[in-house]
Amino acid sequence: MTLIIKNVTKQFEHAQEPTLADINLEIADGEFLCVVGKSGCGKSTLLNLIAGLETPTGGEILLNGKAVTGPGADRVVMFQEHALFPWRNVIENVKFGMEVAGVPKSQQEERALHYLRMVQMEAYRDYPIHQLSGGMRQRVALARALTLDTEILLMDEPFSALDKQTANRMRRELQEIWMKMNRTVFFITHSVEEAVYLADRVVVLSEKEKSIRDVIRIDLPRPRHVYDDVFVEYRHRILEEVQDGEE
């Protein structure tokens, strides 16, 4: 898998200035890439562009050499809100993507259970969505995203609507899952700590210039610990970059 973002600009129809200006970024196969930045810096827009839910006004996004023109199952998105369908129960939700992709029924069941087990939700397979807690819903959403053999998994602040404790647990588990599967992940967050914890590289988007300010490689072995000295150093450095221009 190769994903190349080339000179991408996005300006919304009635906006005074572009939301994103001249973004250049290459995402390597199997990489965990985090994008941080203040709210309004265009990080969600960048994710929507890769997902094909928005179209760039300039430049192009190439997935395996082919320009992205619309949404597709090779770039599944996990949203901040769980986006599970309330008319389906847990396992029916997890099967949705496979149904669309035309995976045979017997395999759907097997794969859905496999991923539900991975996110520790197997016991809840027949539960209606509204009876699950916020964290459980995001687990199911993660399982649903994982069932598809996507080229890249796009995650738009998936843990930011959860309480801190649940969010911390979720990111630890996501790290474990990612270490086992080595999928390419494009992860948006406003939490610098979360980014340093999860990412191979952290991209800092500047709210002022509407473009990439810096890309920082996190050279820390996994599993990572937030109290580690080097971790704290990374965190401070990136936090400063995110907040730069404020004072």
Binding site: P71, G72, W87, A101, L154
Partner: protein, 264 residues
């Protein structure tokens, strides 16, 4: 405990209505016999209504009237649903249609359905079709607006999630938009039925086809207060029964997996 509470509440309900009927009968006796304020034929009474009920049931006319009203109402309703949903879908699909149709529909909807009766009679004569026309006109616009609304209120998030999992346009409609809009759609269908049922009665009262509306206006011609009262009660009861039994079952089915309220 829970069960005892339920039994107690049902008993209270029965007691309430029994008291209401008793009060009604008492007023009738006081008003027509003790104080002789009104002539006995000018006031309906529970006993009189009951007598008419037996008379009209025995000769089968009540059942026949209710049956033909229901059949006619159902036919008109089905036509209105087909037409209204098509209109709603078109309005949803084409922005210019919605922009121009909505104010027009809102205008037409302020017209009580009985006002369609003269128009309908001039066009169709005193026929079955005239009543059907009134039923359709009385409910089709509400159904169109409800369909458009239900589809438009489908959260964008569901569509985005589905698109990112690779659905095509057809799958988006059948797997996402339709099930997501279903609760609101059912609410619209339910309201549409109550509009259709009212319009049906307006049409039937003004024409001469066999039905509850006609039985009602016969009661008026005969100056039979009890018959008028009885038919009104039957119209109400059928309305409630369909709302509770038919739509109740549909709603229970729709909400078998969802939260009971509209919190989605």
């Amino acid at each position: 405990m829970e069960k005892n509470k339920k039994i107690r509440e049902s008993l209270q309900t029965i007691g309430f209505f029994a008291a209401l009927v008793f009060l009604w009968q008492a007023l009738y006796v006081l008003g027509t016999q003790v104080f002789a304020l009104w002539k006995p034929y000018a006031l309906p009474s529970p006993a009189g209504v009951w007598a008419v009920f037996w008379r009209l049931t025995a000769d089968g006319s009540l059942l026949r009237a209710a049956g033909s009203s229901l059949a006619r109402g159902f036919l008109g309703y089905v036509l209105a649903v087909l037409l209204g949903m098509t209109m709603g879908l078109l309005m949803n699909q084409f922005g210019f249609l919605r922009r121009n149709m909505r104010p027009l529909i809102m205008g037409v909807q302020t017209l009580p359905s009985i006002c369609w009766v003269p128009f309908s009679i001039l066009w169709f004569g005193l026929t079955e079709q005239a009543i059907l026309f009134v039923v359709v006109m009385g409910s089709v616009f509400g159904l169109a607006v409800a369909t458009d609304h239900a589809i438009r209120n489908v959260p964008l998030l569901y569509k985005k999630a589905a698109l990112s999992m690779g659905v095509d346009k057809k799958q988006l409609y059948w797997k996402i938009i339709f099930p997501a809009a279903l609760p609101e759609l059912i609410a619209g269908l339910k309201q549409g039925w109550s509009f259709a049922w009212r319009a049906l009665m307006s049409g039937e009262v003004m024409t001469t086809c066999i039905g509850l509306g006609q039985t009602l206006s016969t009661g008026r011609s005969l100056a039979d207060m009890n018959q008028v009262m009885l038919v009104m009660a039957v119209i109400i009861l059928i309305g409630i029964a369909i709302d509770r039994i038919v739509f109740g079952a549909v709603e229970r089915w729709v909400y078998r997996k969802r939260p009971a309220q509209q919190e989605r």
